[in-house]
């Protein structure tokens, strides 16, 4: 097995951080607009998780995790094949099976990811980059700042969880 060590940051409320540290487990985020489907979300960069945590009343906390995954079970949605995955799946539904698909881009992406989580037993991690802000002026190239997220479903892949104390920030 070719092991991949993933470092991630999870921004949450102080209360949730306390509960995660106590149980050693994260709860799965679910909904119809989760970009990488139902799962546990981490940012690759501390600043992004910190921004997210700051949105919580009282400031929130950032947890640092290390996850151990098999490289073959890691799927990067930004890879050439990954980029085409959502579009091709919608093509199959619409063109080959003559359905009208009405969902938003976010809902459709969530549904594709949920298919992967439910039926592709050889995938443990989904990862992708998302733009931080909405499009303002359409340009041929997308110059918006992006942040990378990854999503796991299995808590047992997480080998360590640590609270980043305010004093750790320099």
């Amino acid at each position: 097995m070719d092991v991949l060590l993933l470092t991630g940051y999870h921004g949450t409320s102080a209360e949730n951080a306390k509960s995660i540290l106590k149980s050693g487990k994260f709860l799965l985020s679910s909904g119809t607009k989760e970009w990488l489907g139902t799962g546990i979300y981490f940012y690759r960069e501390f600043e992004d998780a910190y921004d997210w945590a700051r949105g919580n009343p009282g400031g929130g906390e950032v947890l640092h995790i290390i996850a151990e995954v098999d490289r073959d079970r890691y799927l990067d949605i930004d890879s050439p094949g990954g980029k085409l995955l959502c579009g091709k799946m919608l093509d199959i539904i619409q063109r080959d099976f003559t359905y009208v698909v009405k969902g938003t881009a976010q809902e459709n992406q969530c549904a594709v990811m949920n298919y992967i989580w439910s039926y592709c037993k050889n995938i443990d991690v989904l990862s992708a980059e998302f733009p931080v802000e909405k499009t303002k002026t359409p340009l041929l190239s997308d110059f918006r700042r992006r942040r990378r997220e990854f999503c796991l479903r299995d808590n047992s892949l997480i080998k360590s969880i640590q609270l980043i104390e305010k004093g750790d920030l320099k």
Partner: protein, 58 residues
């Protein structure tokens, strides 16, 4: 075959084996907001596909 190709192939094979109502329920449970096209559209589509298959065979 790449991981992504396998996902698509499995997905296609899975929904191909379902009838219309099973397929619609399956897609909706995943979170797709789908509506099957009218039966007339589906018939035309299947007739066209049939012609294409026949033409290829000939």
């Amino acid at each position: 075959m790449t991981k992504e190709d396998k996902i698509l192939k499995d997905f296609e094979a899975q929904i191909k084996g379902m009838n219309l109502s099973e397929r619609t329920r399956f897609l909706r449970e995943l979170g797709f907001n789908v509506t099957p096209k009218k039966a007339s559209v589906r018939r035309i589509r299947s007739r066209r596909c049939g012609r294409r298959i026949k033409a290829t065979a000939e």
